[in-house]
């Protein structure tokens, strides 16, 4: 073995960074460059005549092109999992997929912002820099492999979002939304940091695979039999719960959802689209990364890292617990294993904890979101509750994936594929819903559901598209929203066990609950009589074309979901291996 000299260390660093990591980091680098260029051109004379929209759209399209695999999507089927930047990030098919998703969304989103006029000529560069900065954070969130990157990704995605929530100045509601968002975000980020420090303190590393190896070495079922050991497990559980607080905030999962309706009502509809699609997608993938990272040991674990003495807490020699009590505990552990069906192995307690926690929060979020959406009169508030409910539904897929991962990798991949399909179709549904809300706001100066009455007579295309999107959000065939819900239910069924069956029933019931409030909006638009006071509402050609382009996939993928499903299947083909 080579002696460790400074020269060796620096050489291996340069090799790792330049040859291995940076080529996979090009889309993010393109985003960074775009942010700098956006600000830099204004320094030069005549620079203010270059519209920031063009720089932003060119930059994001460049990043999107760089994110596409050079050898075509088929190369995903054999792509290995790689750690970038000495273990900070992970590059696998999931990273590649979610990056294409986020960057495609940002391209559409920048066009939407230009069309609705929220990013005007004077402040455009600030707005686009914030959007691209948040997107950069989401890319990092979804590829995080280290607690430090997890925290930084969450912060990089959140802090620009706080400003975006208050981007419309001189409106009290908007400033209130931004302030609420900041305070909630700061509080949960602090709690999450506490949790991370507890976890890393006990496990001796912040690198997720190394943490999983330490957890496996701790031998949790054995720890539970001693008083000292139970205290250690208590600290781990506390750390996990506190980490969960930060993630639940990003997911707007109950009980950390309070910010969501207020922020969505106060912020502009465009920003709501950004928060409900991109931010949720990144947070869901991050949740999956945490679950898979801590709940599964990977074969790719660096050899030297596992040679690092794991901090096994010494089991007290004189066991205070009586043998019969031990037997009861072991039996309880075995019983609960039956209830969740998470498979065996040293990390099965971690997976069981994760699955139980995520499933319960998912059920509560989904049900609460759907029930609270009933009484809403403001369309953005209603869509905020709908976002909470959908996030809950998608979290069920994450729970199913982690429950399955310990038993059957192929089934677990199916669950992740269902999640990715859901995220992808959710982009079209929510982006077009919020785009319609934003365009109608520009025309009617209102965001109340009641003011949409009889819209089908003055603006038939808008009303039809909105109805299609709402029906798709319910998950009714033949629209696209049906397929991901079906596949999530299928994944829950495969996961089996009493807990997952309960989740399955809750999910199916929720689809029925959601029916009413979505259809109420559709009824207001299509059946209710038009008010006399309102003039003609027409979106104009470009906005109508945008809405059409974004919502037509909801119809197309409803009838032909095959290509998209194949693509998401391809994107998970190497996961958990």
């Amino acid at each position: 073995m080579q002696p460790v000299t400074l020269q060796n260390v620096v050489d291996s660093l340069v090799d790792n960074t330049l040859d291995m990591s940076l080529p996979f980091f090009r889309p993010e680098l393109a985003l960074c460059a775009t942010i700098v260029i956006l600000l830099f051109v204004r320094i030069f004379k005549g620079g203010e005549y270059i519209p920031s929209f063009f720089i932003a759209i060119l930059g994001s399209i460049t990043a999107l092109i760089l994110a596409f695999p050079a050898e075509g999507f088929e190369s995903w089927a054999t792509m290995p999992r790689q750690e970038l930047f000495t273990g900070m990030l992970v590059y696998d098919t999931l990273t590649a997929f979610i990056r294409i998703f986020l960057l495609s969304f940002v391209v559409l989103f920048i066009i939407l912002s230009r069309l609705t006029g929220i990013a005007d000529a004077k402040d455009g560069q600030d707005y686009y820099a914030l959007v691209l900065g948040a997107t950069l954070g989401m890319c990092i969130m979804s590829s995080a492999n280290h607690m430090m990157m997890l925290f930084m990704g969450v912060e990089m995605a959140s802090v620009p979002s706080y400003v975006l929530a208050g981007i419309v100045k001189g409106r009290q509601r908007s400033s209130e939304a931004a302030l609420k968002y900041v305070i909630y975000g700061a509080g949960t980020a602090g709690v999450m940091l506490y949790g991370i420090s507890l976890l890393t303190g006990v496990l001796g590393s912040a690198h997720l695979p190394t943490m999983a190896a330490s957890l496996a070495d701790l031998d949790i079922p054995n720890l539970l039999t001693t008083a000292e050991g139970r205290l250690t497990v208590m600290v781990l559980v506390l750390g996990g719960l506190m980490l969960g607080v930060g993630l639940a905030f990003k997911l707007s999962a109950v009980p950390f959802h309070f910010w969501c309706p207020d922020v969505f009502e106060g912020a502009s509809a465009e920003v709501d689209a950004f928060l409900s699609v991109a931010s949720k997608a990144a947070a869901l993938v991050l949740l999956l990364r945490v679950g898979a990272g801590l709940g599964l040991t990977t074969a790719e674990l660096p050899v030297a890292d596992s040679a690092d003495p794991p901090r096994v807490i010494a089991v007290a020699a004189n066991e205070t617990t009586a043998p019969t009590q031990n037997a009861v505990l072991v039996k309880q552990v075995a019983d609960s294993q039956d209830a969740t069906h998470v498979g065996g192995g040293p990390l099965s307690p971690v997976r069981r904890f994760f699955v139980i926690l995520v499933s319960l929060i998912a059920i509560v979020s989904c049900t609460f979101g759907n029930l609270a959406a009933y009484g809403q009169t403001n369309i953005k508030r209603m869509l905020a509750y709908s976002t909470i409910a959908h996030a809950g539904f998608m979290m069920m897929a994450v729970a199913a994936a982690i429950a399955l991962a310990g038993r059957d990798v192929v089934d677990a991949r199916t669950a992740v594929s269902a999640l990715l399909l859901y995220i992808t179709l959710y982009l079209f549904m929510n982006l077009s819903a919020f785009a319609i809300v934003a365009f109608l706001r520009n025309e009617m100066h209102s965001e109340d559901i009641a003011d949409y009455a009889g819209l089908i007579r003055t603006s038939p295309l808008t009303a039809v598209m909105m109805t299609a999107v709402l029906v798709s959000l319910i998950g009714l065939p033949p629209l696209a929203g049906f397929w991901p819900k079906l596949r999530v239910l299928q994944a829950l069924y495969m996961a089996g066990g009493p807990l997952m069956t309960f989740v399955l029933v809750a999910a199916a019931l929720n689809t029925a609950i959601a029916l009413v409030y979505y259809l109420r909006v559709a009824k207001t638009m299509c059946i209710d009589p038009e008010p006399d006071t309102r003039g003609a509402v027409s979106l104009g050609f470009l906005p109508a074309a945008f809405v059409f382009v974004v919502s037509v996939p909801v119809l197309i993928f409803g009838i032909l979901p095959g290509p998209l499903a194949n693509w998401t299947d391809l994107a998970v083909s190497q996961l958990f291996s």
């Binding site: 460790v4 400074l6 260390v9 291996s12 660093l13 790792n16 960074t17 990591s21 960074c32 942010i35 700098v36 970038l84 930047f85 000495t86 900070m88 990030l89 006029g117 929220i118 005007d120 004077k122 600030d126 820099a129 914030l130 900065g133 948040a134 950069l136 954070g137 280290h146 430090m148 930084m152 990089m156 802090v159 620009p160 706080y162 400003v163 208050g166 981007i167 419309v168 100045k169 001189g170 409106r171 931004a178 303190g201 590393s205 690198h207 205290l231 250690t232 208590m234 600290v235 506390l238 050899v303 030297a304 890292d305 690092d308 901090r311 706001r441 520009n442 100066h445 209102s446 965001e447």
Partner: protein
């Protein structure tokens, strides 16, 4: 004088100062005084870091929190307040609620911190045997991505560099919010 074990003495001194000024922040109702007490509390925390042999973290605590953020905060408060400084009033009910919530969290965290056997205190003979290693060079190299202590572990090049982009974006956001407001007709009317 040998009977006094100085590290323990300084530990109690710094931790006492940190806690006392933290409580002072809580009890004061004048925002400028609060900021000043916070400076002292964070300064005492830096002393604890030095005592634990983490010179780098201690120095950063002094430079960033005490030197940068808080001085900025005090000047920010002084420069932006047009009238008398804001005096915050807290109702008795709020005190009780805050005490319950904060106290519960404090209890759980303290209980958790003391329940890990490895995190408990060590004997004086063991403490005397510890030879302090300089930490600044390994940490600084780690931030550049090169781990001199164990090359196989993760280096911190990426977070160190990417945070600069993050700070740039945050600065833009802050500048945007601080700028004088302009009207935006269609969106503002709602």
């Amino acid at each position: 004088m040998d009977s006094i074990y100085w590290p323990t003495f300084f530990f109690y001194l710094f931790s006492g100062l940190a806690c006392a000024f933290a409580v002072a922040v809580l009890l004061s109702s004048n925002i400028v005084r609060m900021a000043f007490y916070l400076v002292l509390s964070l300064g005492a925390t830096a002393g604890l870091m030095f005592l634990a042999g983490a010179e780098f973290v201690g120095a950063m605590q002094l430079l960033i929190y005490v030197g940068g953020t808080l001085v900025l905060l005090i000047f920010g408060v002084m420069l932006t307040s047009q009238e008398r400084f804001v005096v915050m009033k807290t109702w008795a009910g709020d005190w009780v609620k805050a005490f319950l919530a904060g106290g519960a969290l404090l209890f759980i965290l303290a209980y958790a911190a003391f329940s890990i056997p490895e995190w408990r205190g060590i004997e004086r003979t063991e403490a005397d045997a510890i030879v302090a290693q300089p930490t600044v060079t390994p940490i600084a190299m780690g931030l550049l991505g090169a781990r001199t202590d164990d090359p196989s572990r993760a280096g911190y090049l990426l977070p160190f560099e990417i945070v600069s982009v993050h700070l740039l974006v945050v600065l833009i956001g802050a500048a945007y919010l601080a700028r004088a407001k302009r009207s935006r007709s269609s969106i503002e009317k709602i």
